[in-house]
């Protein structure tokens, strides 16, 4: 069985879709603004802001009921499906699943709901509409409801590696035949609480804080054939996970995924270049471009894996990545756990199982 990424959707401060990521990777990072949450700290923040796409409200009659966190996920999923040529209500979706990751999930709705007060033996200000958004699986639920996606549905809240953990799990779901396709990735809604993570020490500022979603449609070769799909964006050769230091984890992942390092043209790291470990990655994969796209796109926390793969797709040229056929995308989660996804440039004519 072979797996392909056939659609990619992103919601980010730099704009909507893979093209916006591409432009940002080539641009100057103007999507970020400096804010001073307190006198001694300046933090770069990217906010998605009001989603202007008409499609956002037009594509789903219940759009108004969705909290912002769910809207990001929904919109990215909609892009991924549209890009893959799967329309809302397509019967193929019955056999698909939704598997997402997030780090902070529904914190904004939690904050809103926590405004309730008990006065004079009565509860005041508790909104049922807000309460239903106080669940981390809200985006995955809304996507399933809106698109009638009836297969496996899961939400991981495992920190910044959550989106790639979702992909790791989705790979198992697909290879075991539980679904023919899975919308997979991550969603993150910036809340002011994130600022608590930012301490006054400038050297620990890291990447600009960001928010949004990165959702991919991953399908089996049989699914592509069954729906006579067009060319996939990339092939997903596999995923790997390993706790510990970055470099040994990188070496172990390449070994586990059976990749020849000389075939890898791009290594997309979640670790900033200021980290010494990043330099060592160049030696593991000699000749590859090693990038830290968070510096241009922002820190998406649990959504990073989905956004990072979309960014890797944005970097793909007809010759592959840096003239090589493979790209390795990294996310870094809780407990020093590293997640990796190995992508392959699609072969000419890929899209049916016969050709694959």
């Amino acid at each position: 069985m072979r797996l392909f990424i056939t659609g990619a959707g992103t919601v980010a401060p730099v704009g909507l879709g893979v093209d916006a990521l591409r432009a940002a990777l080539e641009g100057d990072g103007t999507a970020f603004v400096e804010e001073s949450p307190r006198a001694d700290t300046t933090v770069k923040i990217g906010r998605v802001g009001r989603i202007k796409s008409r499609k956002a409200s037009d594509c789903y009659k219940r759009w108004g009921q969705l909290d912002t966190y769910s809207r990001y996920g929904f919109l990215a999923a909609h892009q991924a499906l549209e890009g893959a040529g799967v329309a809302m209500g397509d019967p193929a979706l019955t056999d698909f699943g939704v598997m997402l990751g997030t780090s902070y999930g529904c914190m904004e709705e939690n904050q809103k709901f926590d405004r309730f007060e008990v006065r004079e033996d009565k509860v005041h200000g508790a909104s049922p509409l807000v309460f239903k958004g106080t669940v981390d699986n809200a985006p995955a639920g809304w996507i399933a409801v809106a698109f009638r996606i009836k297969g496996p549905n899961a939400t991981f809240v495992s920190g910044d590696g959550a989106a790639l953990e979702a992909l790791w799990s989705a790979e198992g779901v697909l290879r075991s035949g539980r679904a023919r396709g899975v919308l997979v990735g991550g969603v993150e809604r910036f809340v002011d609480l994130h600022l608590l993570l930012r301490r006054p020490d400038e050297s620990r500022q890291g990447s600009p804080l960001s928010e949004g979603a990165g959702v991919l449609l991953v399908e089996t070769d049989a699914s592509l054939e069954a729906r006579d799909a067009g060319a996939p964006l990339v092939e997903l050769l596999g995923t790997a996970r390993r706790r510990g230091d970055l470099v040994p984890a990188l070496v172990a992942a390449i070994d586990r995924l059976g990749a020849d390092p000389t075939d890898i043209g791009l290594v997309s790291l979640a670790t900033p270049f200021t980290d010494d470990r990043c330099a060592a990655a160049f030696e593991v994969v000699p000749g590859a471009d090693v990038v830290a796209d968070k510096e241009a796109l922002g820190e998406f926390h649990g959504a990073w894996g989905g956004v990072a793969i979309s960014a890797a797709i944005a970097r793909l040229t007809p010759a592959g990545w840096n003239g090589r056929p493979l790209a390795l995308v990294h996310a870094f989660g809780e407990g020093d756990e590293h997640f990796f996804a190995l992508l392959k440039r699609p072969e000419p004519g890929a899209g049916s199982s016969e050709e694959a």
Binding site: R38, V118, N137, V145, R178, L193
Partner: protein, 414 residues
Amino acid sequence: MAGPHPRPRVVVTGIGAVSAAGPDRAAVLGALKAGRSALGPIELFDGTPYGGQLAGEARHLPRNAGEDRALQLLRIATDEVVRDAGWGDAERGPETAVVLGTCQGGIENAKPIHRDYLRRPCPDGDVAEGAEHPRAFAEYRPGAGAAQVAEQIGAGGPRSTVGMVCVSSSVALIHAIDLLRRGEATRIVAGGFESFTQFVFTGFHCIGAMAAGPLRPFDERRDGTVLGEGAVLLALETAEAAEARGATILAELAGGGFAADAFHMTAPDPKGGGLERAIRQAFADAGVGPGDVDYVSAHGTGTVFNDGMESVAFERLFAERAGAGDMPPISGVKSIFGHTLGAAGALDAVACVLAIEHDMLPPTTAHAEPLRDLPWDFVAGPGRDREGLDVLLSTNSAFGGNNSALVVRRWAGR
């Protein structure tokens, strides 16, 4: 979720369970055997605004001012599960993983953060640098529980958290099975935790999901759920690893499945389509069928919609057996412990493991008038002696239209 290679079998070698019934698995077993409800009036906060409803509160839990309640429950359960499994220094390290599910985890810790930072994110004067808020924030993160367990038991392997409301811990168990089958770990502490909080209580109250009295699963008089709290953990290992160290194997986690209703965010599909798909997946994964099932531990929240949906799904799934008067016994143990949300799936799975270990059908309390007058055995009253329980099914459903199913099987050796 089978991988491409021959898959290891996954077994249960230990249980840690803190619930309204008491601080350990013995208390769970005692309550199940006696059919004794652990529900009672709320003590943790004033229940008057909510109409004085019942709750499955862990009243035995010391109120440690310096410790988050959810993490306190989890710490106690962790001690027990490791002890029960007989894990020692040899079981610490990178081969040991932690997979937990929770709905709101340390939300109680978040209240001061929410209130303080709602309008003014980081007040001047470096308050965020003080000890209180960063610690509270760290414990508020969903992954805080898994981090604590990993540190407590010296687990150096994968560390995952599932956030899917009432199916959180059952999906965590399925994820743990996947990790073991795919060789990412040799042993895992897996399960879920949830503390009793005014936040969640207020939420369920405002959506009208709370019962006025007892929690009555599958009863015509059911009128809502009763919230509970707990931390429920299972020590899972590959059968090979468990046998190699001479462990007592309590049961096998033979398979799991999860699927969406794709119907509504908060209401279940009245036809039970998602639950049926999850169960059929679990059957296929475990290599069993409806005819093999000896007992079903249902979600049984006591709400009109959930129990109605479940009964329809079971009716269709077991149609042949129902027609022949051979419907497997079905019970809802939330009637005893309350609905523990993020811990519920693990608690239901533990009920199945204990049923196998003690040859007993877990009961449903407060049940007298079967829903739709169904002629099924809901195991009303105390736990019932029953030998020959080999294949047990545990099901859960949740907000977001999520459904999960686990097959727990008597271990008969490889």
